[in-house]
Symmetry: C2
């Protein structure tokens, strides 16, 4: 029998769900509000409601192998959420038991960045690649590790906290308490921080179109607007790009010396700027690891975007429960 | 039938070989000179001779599952040695073919630090541990990664180059071309470098027993002698200890955020100083990764010493060829 899986992607604003075949083809894509502000118990109710809607659209659970869930934070082996400080009351939620009770379906969960890595490995820029790492460059930096074609999440589901690897001695203070974490520089948020810092440091007689834009409209500075000025060779925007790429290159170097992966994939909003990112990050990465390891590693842009979460969540189900 | 394996440990001076049971019990331990100075072809001849002697002692190859070899450098999937710059003519050697031709035995090889990690996982401080990393603190720093109870060597056998992870921005120049590699500070060689540097920087009126020892007998400074002065609370020796531990703690923090391992094991000559090393490195590691990941990770001293190489080499054979 051709089984399918339910994939759920838990975001701060929306819950997304789909039913996917092993090939990655999805059907019945459905979105409902997460209602994170109502607390963890309501979020779990909403997840159950989303699963119910998907099953209604499918007609039955006969061909459903199980439910996969990508969530902020970590998921322990027994399905308990840890971390996820941004979702009030979500930590401590037991993910698997209510799904088994209500639908008689097995469930498997993992950190959302980890789940996205599995999606790229199965259906995206990592297809057929044995050892790969996905770095999701968004508000923060998330990491997902696929080794020997399988997701590696560590014993407690906490592996891949690559955004909080320190790349600069006594660097910028991070929310996590450490200093010099790569996500302070190379995430979308990091780009904005660097842009404001470098603009503030630019002398009055060296202002550029970019510094004027940042000064006049600081709330509209984003990684995307920064790269519009990078394309115009604005020197201050270029400095943001070089600094952020240097720091990310250091992380890529550390990843190379650690895993010697076949491929490192950059995803998330920042990666939408494309080749200029991989080219410059690659230049710095080569200065931060063994040349013979770097030679064997590709650095590429992710292929999946918004759908990575639900696809990866579904793919986890096949890995976990297919016999 | 109870199979055994041949384990070979290739060192710069000696070749060691043994026959081991799956339980880790060894027999017929044999040492012959490596004769590295005679070139790679002679080293390979010596390995074949060592295997022959072990088979003679055993009486036959009937119960021998295969041959495992730990070597400096890397071993690709087809058994070709790469790296290993310190052994002239060894790079490019094909390890597996001559063993199959001469003895009709399968062979499997890996980097020596990697092999030692498997030995700790099976027979030493990592017994029963699902995810663990061994850091071998010797002349340099080698890394070995055991995940889900299996050795992880990467697609090209090059994973685990943890000694060349950069832990200090614009730090000390390393032989590898990078700056600030952890092995420049926290290996036995790194300890000696720091000792000489800190002694040279100590003003004349602040000399200590340790600075006098280093000045009078610089050739006899070693990690071991440094820790003799650390035990006497010599302030300059303590500064070496704190600096080396800080740098190693940064690496341990990076390893934690990456793998969230159950256990990190410190081996090699430096680790013989024991608890003072794990205590101080642990203090710094806690400042370099997520607290909830660090809480779940043990930092301990290796249990096997000189025998780790042959035992791990033999253990690889069971993992690779046992059906």
């Amino acid at each position: 029998m051709e089984y399918s899986a339910i994939g759920i992607d838990l975001g701060g604003t929306n819950l997304k769900g789909t039913i996917i075949a092993k090939s990655g083809e999805g059907r019945h894509l459905t979105r409902i509000p997460t209602e994170a502000e109502k607390g963890g118990a309501q979020v779990m109710q909403n997840i159950l409601q989303l699963i119910e809607r998907l099953i209604e659209k499918e007609g039955s659970t006969d061909n459903i192998l199980g439910v996969g869930i990508g969530t902020p934070g970590f998921v322990s082996e027994d399905g308990t959420v840890d971390g996820a400080e941004n979702l009030p009351g979500w930590k401590g939620t037991r993910l698997y038991d209510p799904i088994m009770e209500k639908f008689n379906l097995k469930a498997v969960g993992a950190n959302d960045a980890t789940v996205a890595a599995l999606a790229e490995a199965r259906f995206g820029a990592g297809r057929g690649v044995r050892n790969m790492i996905l770095l999701t460059l968004g508000t923060g930096i998330g990491g997902g590790i696929v080794m020997d074609h399988k997701l590696f999440t560590g014993t407690f589901g906490m592996a891949g906290e690559l955004g909080h690897i320190i790349v600069e001695t006594n660097g910028l203070q991070c929310n996590c308490g450490l200093k010099g974490c790569v996500e302070r520089y190379s995430s979308a948020t990091g780009h904005v921080t660097l842009a404001k810092q470098f603009c503030a440091e630019t002398p009055a007689d060296q202002q550029t179109p970019f510094t004027k834009f940042v000064t006049e409209d600081p709330d509209n500075v984003s990684s995307r607007t920064i790269y519009q000025f990078v394309e115009q060779n604005d020197p201050v925007a270029l400095k943001v790009h070089e600094t952020a790429s240097d720091m990310l290159g250091r992380l890529v170097g550390i990843i190379c010396n650690t895993f010697s992966p076949d491929r490192i994939i950059l995803g998330g909003g920042v990666a939408k700027s494309g080749k200029i990112i991989t080219d410059t990050v690659g230049k710095y990465a080569a200065q931060n690891c063994w040349p013979m390891i770097w030679e064997k590693c590709d650095l590429v842009i992710a292929e999946l975007s918004e759908d990575a979460g639900v696809l990866g969540a579904g793919a986890m189900v096949f890995d976990a429960f297919e016999v």
